[in-house]
Amino acid sequence: MEVIRLERVHKTYSDNGVPVQALRGISLQIQQGEFVVIAGPSGSGKTTLLNIMGALDKPTKGAVFLEQEDVSQLSRDTISAIRLEKLGFVFQAYNLIPVLTAMENIEFTMMLLGIDEKSRRSRALEVMRELDIEELADKRPNEMSGGQQQRVAVARAIVNNPSIILADEPTANLDSETGGNLLDLMERMNRDHNLTFIFSSHDQKVIDRARRLIILRDGLIENDTVL
């Protein structure tokens, strides 16, 4: 099943009036359950592409379909709802609400969906158990290491049973062992729940674990291989 389709997507930023072409005609399809790494040199457009796939940003030209739906036709609130229900995000850093504990951070997205407190609690516990981060439940982000924070961010991203997880350089701030653990975790989620993972990285260790590798260069797909 197709979860994301991009058709000739262009993105042009204006850098103090000078147009910067971040994406120059990207077309691709991603199926449910894929484990995709987007690689490429700095400035090649990885973040821009992920943001557009996650409906965080609008293409200048071209179309984006999330589960067959044309994103450009949707209101801001509908897009919010889609992000809440269908997508999970893991950013490079600052993922969590600083004043909430790990548990509460994970519960937060469920609260936005209007799930009652009891169900939230048990679901959050379930996910934390699965990711083996139960001991972090009552810790606030500033009491956790970077790797721990990223794990909690993954827990939050998957807790609403989304179909796609988008992660922009999730391991960039982690040492290689912690980064490797995070990848193990994501692989396991992908295998056990058929969750689609799309993440960007320029770390060779990460790239090695991709099952589909999309290499960007100057806003174009240079190579797209299923491994």
């Binding site: 965080l56 919010s80 993922n95 004043v99 509460e104 519960e107």
Partner: protein, 404 residues
Amino acid sequence: MLFTIAWRNVWRNRRRSQIVMISIIVGVVAVMFNDGLSVGMVRQMLDNQIGSHVSHIQIHAKGFNDNRVIQNYVHKPELVERTLEGTPGVKDWSKRVITFGLLSSAMNSSGGLIVGVDERREPEVTSIKASLTKGSYLSGKPHEVVIGQRLANRLKVGIGDKVVGMASALNGDVGSDLFRVVGIFETVSSEFDKTYMFTSLASAQNMLELEGNVVEYAIVIDDIAQVEAVTAELRRKLGADYEVLSYIDLLPLLVAQVEMYGEMMYIIYMIIGLAMVFGIINTMLMSVFERIQEFGVLMAIGMKNSYVFRMVMLEALVLALLGTGIGLAMGSVLLLILNAVGINLSMFTEGLTSFGVGAIIYPRLTIDSVMSVVIIIPATALLGSIYPALKATRLQPVSAIRYV
């Protein structure tokens, strides 16, 4: 959960929140103090007027209040007295004769109001007997007079001295009589103390050839809040030949002043509120700008704009409610203490007694001012957080996350 977030965010930047809260607290206490002082002052003015002479309700023959001459005496005193005895809510009443006149001593003379009072009933209605500083009250013997200290000074008389009273009698001739000063009183109103002189009802009736007729009934009721109802009841029972006036009718200026103070307070609320609005705008804007990335992430994971808006508003509300709560508690304690102790303004006594306030002001804590504070301050805080909250909703998740 939104409340938890708001609550914790308030404590995240402790110092900033404390500054805002202190400014709210100071504002609340200032408003309450000012309010309490003004209300206390005008209420005292009103109470003094009511207590020294006006009483709660007065009854005269129709037209007396517009044309205050003794020819307008009450024609059927038995009817009035029977009505007063039969009306619930009436506590005590006294009867009076009242006229403009002249009082002279060997040294000087002074115009004023000569009031003949039922010396047994009057002390139940007004506080003159209790305000005596020298001598004693009217005993019922003829030719006694009680005057204010100011008048005594002007006439240069003391206890036991003789004075001559003079006024136009019922038939239009000049009536006069010789009196002896038996008591000197001092109220908080210097104006009152130089204008009023009291003698027994019989002596006044005698001098004015009123032959047992009464000009005025002064009534106190059980519950001042019921004054309108009791007045209406008496009016209905007595009919068109009598005028029944409450202190509200008798002291229109003072009553208007009480109301005006209430309205003036709103202006002061507005000014303090306005200052607060800017404080809140500033604080909340800083708080939003500090957390641009956080808001970006929240929006990215699917938080709707309306939710972002509520989150910021709630945070301001928590701040305001905390500040208001503490301010209210501190203001109440302050006012309760001051109400018990009083603020001694004897430095300014001279100025204030001419307004009839008294040297010591007892500020009052009123439900009205508490309610105003409770409603206005948080509302103001919400008002001030609208702009920062809107600002937060305008953030674009992508650029917010990228923002460093």
